[in-house]
Symmetry: C4
Subunit: 365 residues, 4 copies
Amino acid sequence: MITDRLLNLDDFERAARTALDDARWAYLAGGAGRDDGVRHNEAALRRWKLRPRPLNGVADPDTGADVLGFPSTLPVLLAPTSPLRLFHPEAELPVSRAANRAGVLPIVSNDSHHSLTDIAEQGPFWFQLYCYGSRDDVTRTIRLAESLDARALVVTVDNSHPSRRLAMLRAGFATPPEVRFGIHRESGFSDGWVPPDTRLPRWPLTWEQLDFIQERTGLPVVVKGVLHPADAAELVARGVSAVIVSNHGGRQLDDTVAAIDTLPAIVAAAAGRIPVLMDGGIRSGADVIKALALGATAVCIGRPYVWGLAADGEDGVFRVIDVLRQELLDVARQLGVSSLRDVPTDLVVRTATEITVDEEWRCSA
Amino acid sequence: MITDRLLNLDDFERAARTALDDARWAYLAGGAGRDDGVRHNEAALRRWKLRPRPLNGVADPDTGADVLGFPSTLPVLLAPTSPLRLFHPEAELPVSRAANRAGVLPIVSNDSHHSLTDIAEQGPFWFQLYCYGSRDDVTRTIRLAESLDARALVVTVDNSHPSRRLAMLRAGFATPPEVRFGIHRESGFSDGWVPPDTRLPRWPLTWEQLDFIQERTGLPVVVKGVLHPADAAELVARGVSAVIVSNHGGRQLDDTVAAIDTLPAIVAAAAGRIPVLMDGGIRSGADVIKALALGATAVCIGRPYVWGLAADGEDGVFRVIDVLRQELLDVARQLGVSSLRDVPTDLVVRTATEITVDEEWRCSA
Amino acid sequence: MITDRLLNLDDFERAARTALDDARWAYLAGGAGRDDGVRHNEAALRRWKLRPRPLNGVADPDTGADVLGFPSTLPVLLAPTSPLRLFHPEAELPVSRAANRAGVLPIVSNDSHHSLTDIAEQGPFWFQLYCYGSRDDVTRTIRLAESLDARALVVTVDNSHPSRRLAMLRAGFATPPEVRFGIHRESGFSDGWVPPDTRLPRWPLTWEQLDFIQERTGLPVVVKGVLHPADAAELVARGVSAVIVSNHGGRQLDDTVAAIDTLPAIVAAAAGRIPVLMDGGIRSGADVIKALALGATAVCIGRPYVWGLAADGEDGVFRVIDVLRQELLDVARQLGVSSLRDVPTDLVVRTATEITVDEEWRCSA
Amino acid sequence: MITDRLLNLDDFERAARTALDDARWAYLAGGAGRDDGVRHNEAALRRWKLRPRPLNGVADPDTGADVLGFPSTLPVLLAPTSPLRLFHPEAELPVSRAANRAGVLPIVSNDSHHSLTDIAEQGPFWFQLYCYGSRDDVTRTIRLAESLDARALVVTVDNSHPSRRLAMLRAGFATPPEVRFGIHRESGFSDGWVPPDTRLPRWPLTWEQLDFIQERTGLPVVVKGVLHPADAAELVARGVSAVIVSNHGGRQLDDTVAAIDTLPAIVAAAAGRIPVLMDGGIRSGADVIKALALGATAVCIGRPYVWGLAADGEDGVFRVIDVLRQELLDVARQLGVSSLRDVPTDLVVRTATEITVDEEWRCSA
Ligand SMILES: Cc1cc2nc3c(=O)[nH]c(=O)nc-3n(C[C@H](O)[C@H](O)[C@H](O)COP(=O)(O)O)c2cc1C
Ligand SMILES: Cc1cc2nc3c(=O)[nH]c(=O)nc-3n(C[C@H](O)[C@H](O)[C@H](O)COP(=O)(O)O)c2cc1C
Ligand SMILES: Cc1cc2nc3c(=O)[nH]c(=O)nc-3n(C[C@H](O)[C@H](O)[C@H](O)COP(=O)(O)O)c2cc1C
Ligand SMILES: Cc1cc2nc3c(=O)[nH]c(=O)nc-3n(C[C@H](O)[C@H](O)[C@H](O)COP(=O)(O)O)c2cc1C
């Protein structure tokens, strides 16, 4: 398997860069504007440092997580990404298979290539809703997800409007013709074809639309794209089941606060009443643990598993998750954390010192 | 139109660099001393980050602004710059036309190439006064502006003395002979010709001179070049109509505080009694919104529209404003801001993390 | 002697880089993950600055230190490192000889190539215990150290589990066949041979195992690998003789806090009841004094003396210690510190300013 | 005059680099250890930013300063540097001539090439004492300075011990044979010749030696090399006339706090009872004003005037001072400071933002 020599997620990134043409790469790697936000998510995570307690003597840490009742083998979910047909001919199927094999949940995007029926067959999943068309259209999509036993409905609130993705535009990216929208077709919203360079209009996701969605479904509603603590407090009050702190991987607005840096304020606002998840910039097991220590119940990864998909299909996705698992086991042991369900906050501190890059030569062989 | 492929203001900067010879470029881009101040204005803006509230559900934000009674389509003005003949044969005319077309105010410099009559024909404007010659000379210039219906008199207080513009000197810049001073001629101050390498003496703009100007005119007086909160407080007490926080784009003193970083203290000193505007380093819609969130009523842009002018004349200037408009619409929607007249302060936070530039390869296609 | 032209420890580093093949270099220089932790230890030290008091008038500072009763000529020990056979055919012997010649203590790793008998002949030492095999195996190893008059038993608690050393893996490092484990053989634990790429399992070093070790020995027990103040407080309560603040030179976990930055909190937790030692990133006499001012009794150096060993055997190690001695004498004189046993805390301050590297050209001849 | 095209002190630095061989350059530019301290002095100054008050309306600022009674045309002195024969055949003479021409004080080093009689003929000066030989030797040197009307006795306390100047050693610097020590000969301490690579032993400058010097002389005693506020307080108590905050330009200890950053604490400790001077890293008029705003009475420059000397002899030194004068006039006008004798502290603020160097291309023509 080609991914055997890939030792950390940076390696998968490089492998994906090689596997993809410039336009697809720009679509995947880039974000809004000057891509500052993309880099800032990662840079902010590096500023948080760990303070191990090795004498706790943990040989066999429990990496499992309770993700709204789902017994995940890791506190990690696969963030919704689309269109995955860009990166693999089978699009979502190998992703869901790998997730199932690894015992983690994929969040299936409403904009998937395959029908939800086909994807749901691969294993348990959360469904991420984008609101297209009439209220009836949306209701039918929700029903479809319910009927296929989605474990939760993820409502992404930070992507109602198109954004200014300059890296993508500069690279001349256009959705290629082989990309289809299988769930659109299955829910009866459209024939599943969208002309290149077209973005289907979505509802701006307001408090009222959220109420409508909450009324229409018995599924747990998870709101993705929360950065402001006041929004978190209001969402708790309105009875959502969880929130995902996220700036959409820097793809919507170039200048937002890093997800990890706003996480503590959101956790405080949630006040323990609902789980808080987080995504954006997670590139290692240490990153995952930093988020857990700061109060997250679990994190999502976006680009990293797509690197795996582009590099080696289902095996690539599985290996990405597996690298994270190995790293998490390692970090938990070194830290003396016996269960990822309970990572003490005093294991992280924030530092003012930055690594200067000019010294990299020294450790490279 | 050549500017169609230019997606953000950085692109216009690159286009202008190509269009201009080294000496003109140095005059435009450079500042005082080592140019630290020029870069610092922009770097400081990047440190402020945004915290969106998307569920506010704003589809169609109002970008309009009340700029001392003028219904601007954007909270943006074109800062006074001179001599524009360096960058376009028609100098100020395409700038004022583009501003009028876009529904924003240009601030016309006293050192314009064309007569104020010719410029005023292009649309509404503010007039920026430099004090040359006798009190009568200045009074005649004020009368000229009043007679042509200037909406406000901008008194620039930070440019009374020549500054040490090293980049310009090193590039061997000298004012070329085709540059004229049309307003000087029209006001009767001079024949409108200034020998190369000559700087006409201006009055040091003191509190007393400001009193004199305020007595001479019924126009609203706007003071440009305020950085110290104590000056702002005194200006409020003396009844000026507005202040512009500015370090003259880093062109007067290399080591000043960044405009955005001193803005909050000035806003506090103004205590809501007069509007506070700001310029220096604004390069995107996000930058504009950061200034608004920190209390500015509007911002001015200097170099960016000159890039448009140098790259493509009136259309270039129009496109620069239009890019900002699109960015502002985008940012306002993503932030959940329904009107730029009211941007809550809690949408911005300051961060300690810096982007390391060595990672730029990753997002470039 | 080839090391005569080597003026500071950076020079020894470069000399060692030249002397070693890529794989050995990666093993020595690299750490866990992306090597951020390795660089961070050094970068953090550079942020602390000194505030001399030259008028104290110290011509001949006392550099001696009482290291748990051992009269060291310097507040410096040689950290345990293994396998030293990688860097010199005689492995530990020249290290212990040089330490003895210089009047400092080497900490002999349990994973040494030579028998402890052979090493102990070179001079006084501390013994660093890794726990392999049965309780009887460990007890026999402790007895061996006691019988050879080890002055203390160093229990390394941060290396119970293998870590993810990517630089080493990427360089294709494998333990070469000439490496043996002489103390394993001598204590009767094994025949002293470990197949390449094998890591012998060690006990996870828990509080209970520590109790077991403390019960088994009359030697002072020193715990190495403490980063969390709560652990330090607990270790004091359990009666250990000293702690070494250390993140194992960044080799176990890539994202830990820098040793120097967590030192003050550990010193506070120890509350003067036991000595606190520290290692990680010490590269100069000034670094040593910073640690002493922040409350350390002594520091250990790891990589620096291995650079000396690789460059020039016993003489190289001696010279590295001697450079530190000269630097310490120099820094103490400049600071006005008459004895390294008592370095006032107010001689160090922390700065926010970083050196920009692009200016290096100026001072290089 | 070749220095006409040199616009700021950076330009003089480049000119000197060209004029000097590698060894002399290393001696001049380098410092102790890794030269971090040299760069840190300058970097720290860049972090302080100015907040102008232009409406104060200052056309013709008074740049004069009262330097212990000497009516200096600028709040600038020439720091003692030696041996100047390295940089010009006439050594100190052109320096003292240029200082006199410019109306500022040179501080003449005890290690000068010429006799103090010859130097004193060029104009008023301060004498900087190093203590060599017996108490009688030192007393004779003090008498010599008094007889030649030195205005003050500068006692350098931070250079009693040789330091580890690695840049100099690496460049193979050795004092060339043409260097003589004219004041040593004149005072009768020696024949004025010192073998290359020899450093004459000096007294460690203790409180007691300082008492001795104070008793021996009626001249004002100025102590150079103060960084710790406790030392400043003690010096005030002992009745010295002034202190110079200095880390000897980074030449004695690589890791000291930057002079500008410790200045405020020293000023507080001096409590207005004696003037506080400062040197280290001053490279522009703005740097001078920052020091004045933070409480300094005057600053010294070291390397900058030596650049002038190396580039163009007396004219070069004069031009360096003149550039500073032009910059000071400019900065004072822009700031609205009417007299450098009184620079308000609220004109400076400290910033956390750093300039990223990669953007330099933009302003260079
Ligand atoms: C190529 C790509 C496509 C994405 N598509 C969606 C999507 O369809 N729905 C959604 O809610 N988020 C989408 N996202 C955002 C991710 O769910 C997630 O928030 C983000 O990727 C996390 O940051 P990371 O990539 O740094 O891990 C997408 C992200 C990427 C990179
Ligand atoms: C080429 C150029 C010419 C300028 N001329 C004037 C002027 O005539 N009057 C004035 O008040 N400000 C002048 N300024 C300053 C601008 O009004 C404004 O303060 C500054 O450009 C804002 O910074 P920015 O360029 O980063 O947007 C000039 C600026 C530039 C770049
Ligand atoms: C090559 C190498 C081998 C090491 N082996 C051991 C060991 O056997 N036992 C141990 O406790 N620490 C070991 N360490 C860690 C050191 O004792 C010490 O904590 C670390 O090197 C200090 O950081 P420094 O190298 O920056 O000085 C080793 C370190 C290195 C570099
Ligand atoms: C080449 C050179 C020689 C020096 N010689 C002396 C000296 O003889 N006596 C003294 O007190 N300081 C000496 N100094 C230190 C200076 O007086 C002053 O403190 C320092 O140069 C200030 O820093 P700057 O060079 O960044 O301006 C010397 C400095 C240099 C660069």
